[in-house]
Symmetry: C2
Subunit: 467 residues, 2 copies
């Protein structure tokens, strides 16, 4: 999720094409003489990634438009990036912490990889009161996206280990249960945030994409207006891991308590692990939509929750998040998942920046919490303005009630075409729904992150376009 800097590599990758399948596999292209290459084979999983990562592609679209219309007043409602300043009390806390690093008393070096105890305790108090979560179950991270990959690494391993085990021990002939030898399977909401699938592709769990936009080893749980954005679990195959985001990015749908109860029951019946992404939980307005999976009884045995200060406190650049792994979540052999996650965090990560953690602690003070919630209210008012404008011209609008995203239906249209058409005619950047999965086709995601005057202007332009 970034800006101009990421554009170049995307274009270079696209320009680097092999003449045919044989060349692609054995490198008989003419880019460089053989003597200049290493003998290290490329990770073939990387080749399976569809084009560039979605958000750099959107940035490229934006840049091209700016070149074409240098004088247009472009409004970006594309990448969901916060725009409003961090509340003063929180910025000051970070500033004070940073400044104190120059004093003997205020200096600190390595902190615990799991995060500072005071912050872990404050997270429990702010988000998991009465939910039986302990501070030792909270792992502070540098953002939810980074923990998605660490969880993939955690999950990933058993497949390789199994494959090796099967090879070395002839386990199959000894009648080892198939589960042990099968590939780790993953389910995602369709549409969903692209990092779940892309990190899964890189890790090698996604299988092949046969041009359909779907990877063979991923279970796509269709979520649309026809099923109130909740998958038909009766027709959903069992997977080891279920990624579930609520409020959902991109649809903006917050799952109801009844929906999440069904999900937890499904996971318990199947022995699956839910990775619940609650990065937008602070935007939930509806009391019947839980802000945490741990509000659902029975979830502690089947769920991990990843969350973030990014959209809650405008920390997209400051980088701070957390993950909750309950003690009761166990692998098939009875071993607690939390111990392996702790080991991965200790070995592969060295903790979030101490300055960011000081900021996180300030967010959770009573004054900071109030200030941060005003920010959330501001973006929700934006969502309301955009949602009403689009509804008023007869478009079918979803999301916006419990999330900073508006999910607009354009029946029968190609979502990239709609996105480009809107850009051409109104100078507004949006994100085509198909970028979030095959079932995102015909939809557009419009972000409510923006300065109020930009949101009002965008609402006016869109109304004019569609009236």
């Amino acid at each position: 999720m970034s800006h101009a800097m990421t554009l170049q590599p995307v274009m270079i990758i696209q320009a680097f094409s092999f003449k045919n399948e044989k060349d692609r596999l054995f490198g008989m292209n003419t880019i460089s003489p053989l003597r200049c290459r290493t003998k290290v084979a490329r990770n073939a999983n990387m080749e399976k990634l569809r084009n560039g990562y979605l958000f750099p592609e959107i940035s490229r679209l934006e840049l091209e438009h700016i070149e074409k219309y240098p004088n247009a007043k472009l409004i970006s409602l594309g990448i969901g990036d916060t725009t409003e300043p961090v509340p003063e009390i929180i910025a000051s806390s970070m500033a004070n912490y940073a400044h104190a690093l120059s004093t003997a008393d205020g200096y600190s070096g390595y902190g615990p990889e799991q995060g500072n105890k005071a912050l872990r305790e404050a997270i429990v108090k702010a988000f998991y009161k009465d939910l039986q979560i302990k501070d030792t179950e909270v792992f502070v991270s540098d953002g939810a996206q980074c923990d998605i990959t660490r969880l993939q690494v955690l999950n990933y391993r058993f497949r390789l280990a199994d494959a090796r085990y099967l090879n070395t021990c002839n386990a199959r002939s000894k009648g080892i249960p198939l589960l042990l030898g099968s590939e780790v399977t993953i389910a995602v909401q369709d549409p969903s945030f692209p990092a779940y699938i892309d990190s899964s592709v890189i890790i090698g769990q996604a299988g092949d994409e046969g041009g359909s936009g779907r990877y063979g080893s991923i279970e796509y749980m269709k979520c649309g207006p026809e099923n109130n954005f909740f998958p038909d679990l009766a027709t959903t195959s069992r997977t080891d891991v279920i990624f579930f985001c609520s409020p959902n990015n991109p649809t903006g749908h917050a799952a109801t308590r009844e929906q999440l109860e069904l999900l937890v029951k499904f996971a318990r019946d199947n022995g699956s692990i839910i990775i619940f992404d609650s990065a937008y939980s602070s935007y939930v307005q509806d009391d019947n939509c839980p802000r945490s999976i741990f509000e659902i009884s029975g979830s502690r045995q089947v769920a991990i929750e990843i969350s973030s200060f990014s959209k809650f406190a405008g920390f997209t650049g400051v980088r701070l998040g957390w993950t909750v792994v309950p003690d009761e979540l166990l692998y098939l052999n009875g071993f607690p998942v939390i111990h392996d996650f702790n080991r991965i965090v200790s070995t592969c990560f060295n903790g979030a920046s101490n300055v960011a953690q000081a900021g996180g602690l300030a967010c959770l003070s009573s004054q900071g919490f109030k200030a941060v919630n005003s920010l959330v209210d501001y973006y929700m008012e934006n969502a309301n303005i955009l949602g009403e404008a689009l509804s008023s011209v007869g478009l079918q609008v979803f999301g916006s009630a419990n999330a900073p995203y508006i999910w607009v239906h354009f029946p029968g249209s190609n979502s990239w075409d709609v996105c480009k058409d809107i850009l051409e005619k109104t100078h507004i950047i949006t994100v085509p729904g198909s970028g979030f999965g095959p079932s995102g086709e015909e939809f557009l995601r419009i972000s409510a992150f923006g300065h109020r005057e930009c949101i009002l202007e965008a609402a006016a332009r869109l109304k004019t376009l569609f009236l």
Copy 2:
């Protein structure tokens, strides 16, 4: 690398033991009834990790000692953690940046995942002047340890991909070259920083450890006084990846120009990729010891460099580092490694904290650079004090001339015994050399990070002990 917070999990893991090998594999232990477990198999690679990660184990030793001798004045020369305040000019820059986040002009959200352009340019100017490194080849990270894992993920994949390719396409029967199907192999200096091996074990590349302290798939490059801490390359097997740290942690040896020329030639001849860890490069005093692998001609085609602000500027808690991937580094098929690394950074990481990056930029200003180098001088004077004290009592001392570590030889001794004996008699924490690999046996690593009065006191106690 942390403190009390990490102790608990290590102890829990040790307490969780299976009755026998069968139980270990199939989970027939009695920890929890089957109905409470998921059906997800544990990552078997995690079981291959030897005990806890080294540094949490050292912390546990420290904690036990404090409980036993609550009134002793413990001096920690164990974990290599910086102790001196960040220079005022740098802390102020971070504070100003953090405070400006509360203003409309100073606020910023997502930055480029690769790091801010100004910082990337400053890194080139400060560390790679005249070395042909471009700012687009520099990726800012949240620390070298985190990038070690991202590089493992980058490297790892091809093996799995190959395994799947071999299975699905019957490539073997079609005469595909063996390299494509072979496991990715890794070489490390022995002794070396444990994260290289531990992350490799988690990723599943290390093979089995048969009780010898050596993993079957890792090439251990013995580095000791007998070979001037440089491996005998004539007897070193070809590997895909060579981790090489200079100045080395733990031995403190900085490789000479001639040694690095041999290393680069070896990598070029074998088509290997060197991952050069220069986290301690600012401690190099000797002009004949390069501070970057890119000082060596021909390295751009075979090397990646990882580095850090941690030990250079006391940023162990602030979290900032960088990795250089040259455009000319190519896979066997001619594809540039930099594009895949860029994609992994974009998908699995969202950039270092913007406040930390502001601090990094201040470190590289002319005034900041001077201040930071005074810090380095301070720790080097510590190293000198400790090295002289230990030499004066007849011990054989290595390192300390170009690194903040002293590597002391205790011929014929078990290094854990020496470490515990010193702790018991002097209340000084050190790290047993065997924690860094089998060839670290008989050695002790003593860190020079500490307040001067502690270092002087430690030197006096050690002299008394060994006189």
